[in-house]
Symmetry: C2
Subunit: 530 residues, 2 copies
Amino acid sequence: MSNDSNSTRRDFLKKGALAGVAAAGSMTLGFGTKNASARALPTPEKWDAEYDVIIVGSGFAGLAAGITAKENGAEKVVILDKMPVNGGNSIINGGLLAVVNSKLQEKEGIEDSVELYLKDLLDAGQDINHKDLIKTVATEGQDLAEWCSEKGVEWNPTLEHLGGHSVPRTYLTTVSSGSGIVRPLTTHYKDKLGGKLQTNTKLTGIVREGNNGRVVGVRVREGYSFDFDSTDGDRGNTSGTEKYYRAKKGVIMATGGFSQDPFFRGAQDPNLAMPTDELDSTNHAGATAEALEEMLRVGAVPVHLAWIQSGPWASPNESGFGVGSSYQIAAGFRYGIMVDTETGKRFMNELDDRRTRTMAMFDVIGDLEDPNYPITIADSQDGVMAAGTLEKCLERDVVLKFDTLEAVANHFNIPEEALKEQVNEYNRYVKEGEDKQFGKPIDDGMKPIEKAPFYVMEGVPKVHHTMGGVMINTEGLVIETATQKPIEGLYAAGESVGGPHGASRLGSCAIPDCLVFGRICGRNAARDKA
Amino acid sequence: MSNDSNSTRRDFLKKGALAGVAAAGSMTLGFGTKNASARALPTPEKWDAEYDVIIVGSGFAGLAAGITAKENGAEKVVILDKMPVNGGNSIINGGLLAVVNSKLQEKEGIEDSVELYLKDLLDAGQDINHKDLIKTVATEGQDLAEWCSEKGVEWNPTLEHLGGHSVPRTYLTTVSSGSGIVRPLTTHYKDKLGGKLQTNTKLTGIVREGNNGRVVGVRVREGYSFDFDSTDGDRGNTSGTEKYYRAKKGVIMATGGFSQDPFFRGAQDPNLAMPTDELDSTNHAGATAEALEEMLRVGAVPVHLAWIQSGPWASPNESGFGVGSSYQIAAGFRYGIMVDTETGKRFMNELDDRRTRTMAMFDVIGDLEDPNYPITIADSQDGVMAAGTLEKCLERDVVLKFDTLEAVANHFNIPEEALKEQVNEYNRYVKEGEDKQFGKPIDDGMKPIEKAPFYVMEGVPKVHHTMGGVMINTEGLVIETATQKPIEGLYAAGESVGGPHGASRLGSCAIPDCLVFGRICGRNAARDKA
């Protein structure tokens, strides 16, 4: 084809531009200084308190930041939380930590690599992940299990193999919950390092020097009382007293996601606009969007806000994450199969990524007013019996126990023969080591489903994780739209950040993200020469 | 299952909250007033100019707003544009307008409805569209063809059938370009209605009364000179002189999308972070993110920013939208087939929605450094010969002409027999009225591909439309994060708005969106009692 055809629109417009310049007459040309300006709160006349480093949010990211800031020489460090208890959403999180080249992988003979970790995250994230950030997580996260253990975290002795991961690489706390990390880190931060933690304190503004410069502090409401009956993400709650806190070295936003904010999540997906009592979320009630919104007002770059993930492993028979989610992740999906009770047939790879499974399950569930919940069926093989929360699930009727598959079919009104055929077909694939039906990865730990009694759990996806947040660089600094450069003194880590997980976060990759970037932010803020 | 198992996490946390309140001691509880506050520019000491309505952006939405504001009694109206020429991206747009229940549909005997229009948009938009907004577009857009004609717009005498639309419903300007709408609307606005249009004037700030109240004006740079060589979305360009303009009745943001902003689009999808000379866009050079960023700073709700659409109908042998896109939309994809030159086989429904086609094409193209561009093959049937830009495409070697399919196979090194088999198979489906290969909708206007000469165009997707923007209500008012209510005096329309198109915009649905909401904003601002 001829090169002549490449007359460019840009060239055309350039000519137009010059013509326009001529027509507009003389004008001042001056590039290089800033044009658009941020609108942070200006410096107050008087600060009510002074710190070296102020951390907003007391979950995984905030605690890691607090510990590392102290370890790196910051004397006055405070972690603020708007809620009456500390720990944020992390304390009710599933307690799963995916890291590569770990001691347990070595022990179990599992080959893994940073590259394979990145590939798994990019596959789930539809390749829009900020690769520099996940590379940092994978690389700097390799010591996390030990880093946590040193502070008193207790891990199960074997790895989990979660959906979307090529190999088992996931540690699980012995209590099957993030509280198993939050509690020892909190104790370490407060008691060992002398860090300050202040609840009932809500961020309402970020202060920049001269309005547009370095972040030098925050505006808060002390004695804030979160309104648990709020239906609008707790907006308009002005309880407590307004105070200004100075941060000499930096402010670290570890403020989490917005899964419990019907307004903000509904703006991204109107199907999620219903209040939580209609469309449940696994998150704690404080997972609202206000801190994120404040960062946008001071000029942070919004990233991936429209990507909201539901967790496919929840139970419709309890609220929130509950006890069923951990069972379903560790046992139901791995050692069992999920079937549509109307047909008795499987309809997905039970270890596929969360978004794919969620969409497949909602297809089966149909109308939420008259739902057809699918069920997982597992048996009494070792992996299932080892699931930490099975006992609690049985106590709460989240998991039901049956002596035979016939009884399962009867209870859920499933076509019995179809169900038995399905179980037999799946068992054949397990023996052959290859799932020819849906491509579920079969590993040596998985056995055929044949050992009574059988365990059955109904499943429903719940709003679980908001991939979006603000843009940061690998040093944890928040990037500004107007300049494309970091906002000095403003850091962010964890779910308040967008980018690492792209379109869909893989299970057990939140904790390493929070801890790695929490550590980076704490270290960098402490060392800030400001 | 037992109800007892429904112990709720919310109940648990409520108890925790009360305990927390008690622990924190007495505090002021006061709901209902605002907590977080926006940070718009405060009112200046002196305004440099005063208008009733200020419109930022002079494309479809801005012009419709200007016309309607004048028609509804606003005396002093100004349309500002940062570029040296007016028309924004609209002037190089494809000139396609999809409306329901139109005169041409009646003439051609096509049954259509608002409901079918909504269904098509929701299917393409993955059901995350803001339904109230598209219902407004479909309902209030039914008169648009005539509304435009009254102002001098000339339409082709027959409808187009675009990908993703259930029926033909798309008008095309006789010049096959949006300039066929922009020019008559501009003339009408300026000459008939006495409206003012001011180019080389860039918005740099939105002014709110008392910082946090009604929007009462804008800060601009007059005599601004857009830097066509900028690689960063023209950030940091401070040419021109700073001025403050008062808007007594309202500011309407018709500022377009950010397809030409490698930084902002790259933050959403790192695969799009390359500058435009590496990854082309169909948009004019001024399609950058700064006005959107300013709206976020004053507290607008970001919606769907991560959804960026590439146009699957572009040519790799010219820059931008070019002349090839119109040919491919009107003829190549409708009357022809697209094949992978390595196999000679089709690989998609050529009339599928844009995102699905883009992803299928990038799969075939592979490495952008060594691309394997697919081609469309069409023949000399009436529909192809009627394509308005065919002649120009041939002149510029964007479309090549061949006497036989053998010659096509030879030129592109396609397996000849496979190609012929593919064409024969497709021709059979056309005769049978059903595409059993990929489900392309076959209508009566389509004939088998058999009449020499044959027309061939290489294809590549180019960044075309950014679905995301700020949240508005059906009155065109911008919604604020902190209050979930409209920001008084601030309107937005067109591509600067997020929501109508969800995850992927259907072709020919941008113009009706721009015109309908432009008219709504103009009318409402003019009638504002402020």
